[in-house]
Point group: C2
Chain length 242, copies 2
DNA sequence: GCTAGTTTCAAACAAGCGTTTGATTGAGAT
DNA sequence: ATCTCAATCAAACGCTTGTTTGAAACTAGC
């Protein structure tokens, strides 16, 4: 009757850790799932596709993770949680250097971007896959994805909003929230790498997959946007025809 | 054997057009599909869900549209094509007024935003649904969606990239392409309305669903980003720790 | 060698999927 | 009244989905 245990204890072979090409079943599933979820999305990726690519039995997913949804969450947390931890740590480091003075927008953006860049570089293939997957999860309508992401981001967002509010004292608190929202949207959208529209834009081929160059173009764009003057209220300079 | 005709001729009742509450089966399907695709995404929305909501027979989708994919494309074109047509028309109008002089970034952005705003307002519920659906389709990995979208956008993008290039003569052509890419990303991402992260940002409740106010905040942000100075090449002001 | 516990495996499960079929309806044309 | 053809319908098709099952294999500890 009861669920198949999912015991997290699993006595590890504490004698000699196998460092050979043999990889843990759980990790093999996570790696395959990361790539396939990125490629086809959550709904369109079947467990049979994942387990075949990972060379494990079909039932292994439900045994180790409980369900397809929990597998998806595990794929996300594995890298998202450390990345957001890095971001906050970096922000704290910058702040302690600045001796109580407000940081520049560039510095704060750096604290957001550098951990993402590290991910794109370190695990040379897997990391980039993950960033694309994350960008797509951002736009996924599935409720369990949305509430999972917001719970993962809430702490980081509070910290960075406070930092931006100090860097941009002339802006109302609400305007700061919106602009942070825009920044995170542009970042996730850009990292998601919607190839179709990129082809339209006829970029140089060597740039199209170079996340570093990409973020170097995006960061100044966003910094300037953050510093933009506030809209003069009632004059309706924008959005009237003729 | 052969496919069930899908004849587009369908003799319309040319005598007296029924203007009562009776709506065309095709339109009922499109309306229901628009809302449900927006809510659950393409893969997670079944034809049975759509046809039940539309109060039509299950086979009606395959009869009128041919397949689920073609239905999705029909949902998109119905409003996307006129919107992009409006955008280009508006841009042309602005340009003819300016007597050959380059437009400001604000004007060009207006030409992109106003048709989207009209959609959000006119069909008070359906239009907003559509914008959210569009934002999500932007991030969908399904190949048929990606290539459909790029074919729908290619003409508009060429026109607007040329306009931005004239407005920003100090930027290289490639930089302009990237910034247009960022603008379209921010726009679609913002209109997609990722509710989860909005809740985090603790906005005023009356603003959260007011697309007009939303775009009034986004437009100055993007205009400032477009005008940002180019990154000084090798100095690596960005993205190095400490 | 026995035992206990974790992990793997092939097989099956019920449910849902997109699509097709063939009959039935209903309105306009001859 | 008859013919025609687009439109609707209930039913079924073949297939895939996520999950469950119970036995087998494997790995320590004693």
């Amino acid at each position: 009757m009861a669920t198949p245990a999912i015991s997290r204890l699993q006595r590890t072979p504490d004698s000699i850790v196998e460092k050979t090409v043999e990889i843990d079943t759980k990790s093999r599933i996570l790696d395959a799932a990361e790539e396939l979820f990125m490629e086809h999305g959550f709904e369109a990726t079947s467990l049979r596709l994942i387990t075949t690519a990972a060379n494990v039995n079909l039932a292994a997913v439900n045994y180790h993770f409980g369900s397809k949804e929990e597998l998806f969450q595990a794929v996300l947390t594995r890298r998202l949680d450390p990345m957001n931890q890095d971001r906050m740590q970096l922000l704290t480091a910058y702040e302690s250097v600045s001796n109580g003075g407000a940081l520049t927008c560039e510095k704060i953006i750096s604290a957001m971007f550098i951990p993402a860049l590290k991910l794109a570089r370190d695990h040379q293939q897997g990391g980039k896959n993950f960033l694309r997957l994350l960008g797509r999860a951002y736009a996924d309508p599935a409720p369990f994805i949305r509430q999972f992401l917001s719970s993962q981001y809430v702490e980081m967002i509070v910290r960075f909003r406070a930092a931006f509010a100090r860097a941009l004292p002339h802006l109302e608190r609400e305007e700061v929230s919106w602009r942070l929202h825009f920044v995170m949207g542009a970042l996730s959208y850009t990292l998601a790498g919607t190839d179709a529209l990129k082809m339209i834009a006829q970029f140089h081929p060597e740039e199209i997959d170079n996340d570093e160059l990409l973020l170097k173009r995006l960061a100044p764009f966003l910094a300037a946007g953050l510093r933009a003057p506030v809209q003069s209220g009632d004059t309706h300079q924008w959005f009237q025809e003729t």
